[in-house]
Amino acid sequence: MENTIIKTPKKTLWLRALCIVIALAILAAIPAVLTPILMPKYLTVSKEGSLTEEYYSAVAETNHDVLFVGDCEIFESFVPAILWEEYGISAYLRGGAQQLVWHSYYLLEDALRYETPKAVVFNVYALKYGEPQKEAYNRMALDGMEWSSVKAEAIRASMTEEEDFLTYLFPFFRYHSRWSELTTEDFTYAWKDKPAVSDSGYLMQTGVVPADTQADYTPEQLIDYTLPATAMAYLDRMRALCAEKGIELILVKAPTNFWRYHWYDEWDAQITDYAAEHGLAYYNLIPKAYEMGLDMATDTYDGGAHLNVYGAEKLTRYFGEILAKDHAIPDRRGESDIASVWQRRVEAYYDRKTAMESRE
């Protein structure tokens, strides 16, 4: 077969080239324009999704002496505003919903790009997980991170099998399916700063749903109580990172011990041994619940799994004293620059508390 070669007029060639260039430009622009609209805003539903990104505006205002990292037992248990008010401690919580140990590690590494705290408090409960769990939690922990090599590593370490790095690079390809569920909130905050949902990383809950103390819940028996090696390896990395930067790593277990989120003695023994071996402070606060005045009839919003604001304030007062006395975290209330920032934050905290209580 012979190909007949017909020369295309130059004008047509130019027109085709122009059309292709314009089309490619529009095609590239579409995700850029639509992504801010399609990205979940996490303002009314799954507020935890906003926590990661809120850190950057906070650290731009002032540095922190204590960074808390971990899962929901962090962002629902410790109140930085109380730490400031009672002990003059400038603290921030980098916690998130089911924030696994590698999330925490990379969020810490990310934070250390901006500031070097005196202490890092890590809640150990998430060490029970050795593998990525759910895509939704990955997105909530990672989407809000500012782009850097740390974020790229965090994504690679966290992805479930179904996930694709490309969708983190171009979130449009993950969230395009939200087109049919967009609300006015998505348009309002597409290019506008969102209101903060947290107070220095603390996500307030004012509801009260008492724990059923009469019920005889038996936690599930496990075949193997060894904490996963992957998780412990990240704890090692966190320890090394802190040591390298001259930061004290403090391990903590929040005082809640709900039957579904049970902290086994076997796990506790492993962490106790680990802390002793590496010279770290470890506070299992479960046995201290009574001492700090926690009452699970009034201090939990979900039947005992997590603390509400009243429980969190009690815990924070108790733990703040430990930080101040045993770890020499300085009182900065006399430093006017930091104090003015914290004055605003404390006021915002109480405003939110009043507003939420009035809605309950």
Binding site: I5, R16, E135, S180, E181
Partner: protein, 531 residues
Amino acid sequence: MTLTSFPFLLFAAVTVLLYYLVPKRGQWIVLLTASVLFYAAAGGWYLPFILVTVLTTFFLARIIERRAKADEDYITTHKADMDKDARKAYKAAGKKKRFRILTAGLILNFGILAVLKYTGFTLSIVNDILGLFTASTLTVPSLILPLGISFYTFRSTGYLIDVYRGKAKAATNLGKYALFISFFPAVMQGPICRYNDLADQFDTPHRAEWDNLSAGLLRVLWGFFKKLVVADTLMGAVKTIVGTPEDFGGMYVLLLIILYSAVIYGDFTGGIDITIGLSRMLGLRLTENFNRPFSSRSTAEYWNRWHITMGSWFTDYVFYPLSICSSMQKLTKWSRAHLGKAVGMRFPVYLATLVTWFLTGLWHGASWNFIVWGVLNGVIILISRECEPLYKRFRERFPRLTSSAFYGGFMCVRTFFLMGAVRILDCYRDVPVTFKAFASMFYDFSHWGDLLDGSVMDKLGITLPVWILVGLATLLIFFVSRSGKDTPVADRLSNRPVLWTLAALGLAVTVMIFGSYGIGFDAGDFIYGQY
């Protein structure tokens, strides 16, 4: 690597680029390499199977052709020494030998297909029968099913038969023949190309031409649109209805007929659009597999418009040979003598039709639902054929009505629902459940209220905006297919750069935003890719 996945897009783009960058005589090598890589990516263990098919059909076809030529040469050389009968006898003897070679090739290749695809099904039937007499059962082995085995087996055996019949020349280049069998855009779900249609195209050097690239790309985007915006979006609703038939009877079965018709149309024609479009970008023209099937006015017409290459394969290699084979001729004679002219004439044709449709069903899958689906199609076609005199009389009596657009539309809708009703066997994959669900349309009216109060949307998990989207997409497909009756729209637009750009951009953006892809969508595999 499905045809709509990102890795495939990247793979296809690199292949097209390399194809036009290498020297022209090496283009087929790029395609063969891409095809082997594509196939290996699906599963390394699949490669030996397709290789056996390639080698056996290639060499057997060469032997058949060489022997035919040798026989011809012998007769030409010894023409003077042989009388007519001797020549005839020599020819017949040669043909018989060639037939044996052909038969060996067919048995081997259909044998592989049969063992890999139908062993489990056959053993389960044996176990059912054994279960009537004994408690012991045979173990059903778990065998691998190479990607596109049904399609490449048909392509290769069709070629072997064509060479035997003298309709195709035996391939001389093993690599190019391997490419014909394994050509990556078509290996998964067809079309079932004929060797004669494709072989020359692999020999021809191809320049990167705007017409091919633009029309091809537009066709690919159109395929993505059909698959991701229509088929995969509705697949969730189909799965919901089929998942719990006890909860979704009556109206929902009617809805299933409509929804699954849209799903299978978008899925299969979309996949073929991607295949044909990508081939076109490479300068290759593949046989069309669809011709506006839902505009068919009868089942026979429908099967001339739907999965055309499969239909023509069965017609050429099963129905016709079966209809004219000596056993069938004897049966014709016998039935005419014993059953009368009217029945005697029909009997062999009916038998050939039913056997062909039985095999068509079996080809689609190793389960009873496909067999019943195939036989039902055959039965419907035969009933339609029997009713033809009635239709004719009706047309003669009401010429104005039957030539009106309304009547034409009615015929199309009737055929659509008839074929759709049979097609739900493919959804439930269980014959009694399918018949029960179908029957529920006529006695269970409890779900019609869901349409009025809108709860149908919640129950099927499809929101109003999605219904509107799919409705608009369906309308667009309808108008595009109507306007592309004579010249495909992609070809017409490629001559108008501005319009082409708008169309391509529109499709790309629509697919990007509204397409069902990524996390949360698991309906990605092509339905026909499983056959």
